[in-house]
């Protein structure tokens, strides 16, 4: 459904993603793992249509990433990206204006649960509150694909629980969920597949069942094995 075929992305002399081929199928939850600079964010941004591949192809439902794929792919960046003049309510309205799959009711439910209020200015939000707002507005879309880049980055345990709860609620057997995180332990019981990236290349993809049953290892141990910890 969402696939990259030998995709490479170069920035001047630096190769951020090197001939990566990944195929994501509907109804599955994927973890994209790897240390900083391994190419996870660049791959996600290409899938979201923010970056253009230098070579190779990135497709959604067999067609190149573009306007049609953006209607069905919800991307959450790790960095804050809302306009400074916006309030929490404005962010919801903006998504409602541009995404047909956005539910304002669901957004209001999520921000209430995450102790955010409509009148808060985005430029005044703490990193934890910003992380909550980003996940709320992204998951308030009934998207076919969710790309969540470091959704648990820099936030406290309670906020992390809320975010994981929200992500779990969106697992419906239809949507693809791809999340990248360094907090590998938290993923074990959520994801179906893990994809490891290292130094801009994909080093392997396994199902969690495969790791548990055939390789007799956990996601965390496989991570340690690959990255030499």
């Amino acid at each position: 459904m969402l696939a990259s075929n030998a995709v490479t992305k170069k920035f001047l002399r630096k190769t951020a993603v090197d001939s990566v081929s990944i195929s994501l199928e509907k109804g599955r939850v994927y973890a994209l793992l790897g240390p900083n600079g391994s190419g996870k964010t660049t791959w996600m941004k290409m899938a979201a249509g923010l970056l253009l591949p230098t070579s190779g192809t990135m497709t959604y439902k067999g067609k190149p990433i573009g306007i049609e794929s953006k209607k069905e792919i919800a991307y959450m960046s790790t960095e804050p990206y809302f306009y400074n003049w916006m309030t929490v309510k404005d962010v919801g309205k903006y998504y409602q204006d541009f995404f047909a799959d956005f539910s304002m009711d669901r957004f209001q439910e999520l921000i209430a649960r995450m102790d955010l209020t409509n009148d808060l200015k985005t430029k005044a939000l703490s990193s934890g509150m910003m992380a909550k707002l980003k996940i709320a507005v992204t998951m308030a879309r009934k998207a076919k694909v969710y790309l969540l880049d470091e959704p648990l980055n820099g936030i406290d345990l309670l906020a992390r629980d809320e975010i994981m709860k929200t992500i779990r609620e969106s697992i419906d057997g239809e949507a693809i969920i791809l999340l990248s995180t360094h907090l590998v332990d938290e993923l074990e019981d959520v994801v179906d597949d893990v994809i490891f990236m290292k130094n801009s290349v994909m080093v392997g993809q396994w199902t969690v069942d495969d790791l548990h049953n055939n390789l007799q290892t956990s996601v965390a141990d496989k991570y340690r094995q690959i990255y030499g910890m």
């Binding site: 253009l52 306007i67 809302f82 541009f98």
Partner: protein
């Protein structure tokens, strides 16, 4: 595209609020001067209003280019480029917002100037003199209406097309800088130099236009060339964004 235009207006609302407040202050100073018949206040009010009109309309264009720069070079770019809209729509919304802002602000200052002038004449010289003045103006317009209406229209359209041409040049320079020179040192300076080159090149093209028989025909030709250049620059910019832009 209307939603994109709506948010382009919202991005520049702060500047417009500042302009409104500054204009109101100048207007109050002017009215105080007229009502109290104090020349100094009246003069300061007029100077303030003229400055607001000139600086305000100029800054609308500059701000539009600065916003474009921010929309391509900061994380806020995601807000635009994650939406299911083509680069041509995104760019078109910016161009149209700018043109509409200019028209609206220009119209407001035009109406304000007429209203203030009328108020001043009524207060200082009485209603009778205003009516005499209006009648005299109407007579003059009637005398020249067949000539001036066309000239006024061409002059106005010429100013707008030249303005839009400068703005689209700015967009192209920023897009070239954000694509072909992305991540390189001095990309801001490069962007400015590209803009200067584009403006000089277009000036050369306009100077090559043949002398027409009448001023109107010369103006019309200049407007036509301006419009063609705006369209060409718009499509070139949109194409570069579509094929080369990474945000």
């Amino acid at each position: 595209m209307t939603k994109l235009i709506k948010y382009e207006f919202k991005k520049s609302m702060f500047t417009k609020y500042v302009l409104i407040v500054a204009t109101l202050v100048a207007q109050l100073v002017f009215m105080f001067g007229v009502l109290s018949e104090k020349d100094t206040s009246m003069t300061w009010g007029i100077v303030g209003l003229v400055l607001c009109a000139i600086v305000g309309t100029s800054f609308i264009g500059i701000e539009s280019i600065l916003t474009m720069h921010q929309d391509l070079n900061t994380k806020q770019s995601y807000m635009l480029f994650l939406t299911p809209r083509s680069t041509y729509q995104i760019l078109g919304a910016k161009v149209l917002q700018n043109g509409l802002s200019l028209l609206i602000v220009g119209a407001i200052f035009g109406i304000l100037a007429i209203a203030d002038f009328s108020f001043m004449v009524i207060k200082l010289d009485g209603l009778e003199e205003l009516l005499d003045f209006a009648q005299m103006m109407l007579k003059q317009i009637n005398m020249e209406i067949t000539i001036t209406r066309q000239e006024v229209f061409l002059g106005l359209f010429g100013a707008i097309s030249s303005w839009m041409n400068m703005i689209t040049n700015g967009y192209l320079a920023i897009v070239i800088s954000a694509t072909f020179f992305a991540g390189r040192k001095f990309s801001g300076l490069i962007s400015f130099l590209i803009y200067i080159v584009l403006v000089i090149a277009e000036g050369r093209i306009l100077s090559l236009l043949p002398e027409m028989a009448t001023v109107d025909a010369t103006l019309a030709l200049m407007i036509g060339v301006n419009v063609v250049m705006i369209i060409v620059i718009y499509f070139v910019t949109g194409w570069i964004m579509e094929k080369k832009l990474n945000v």
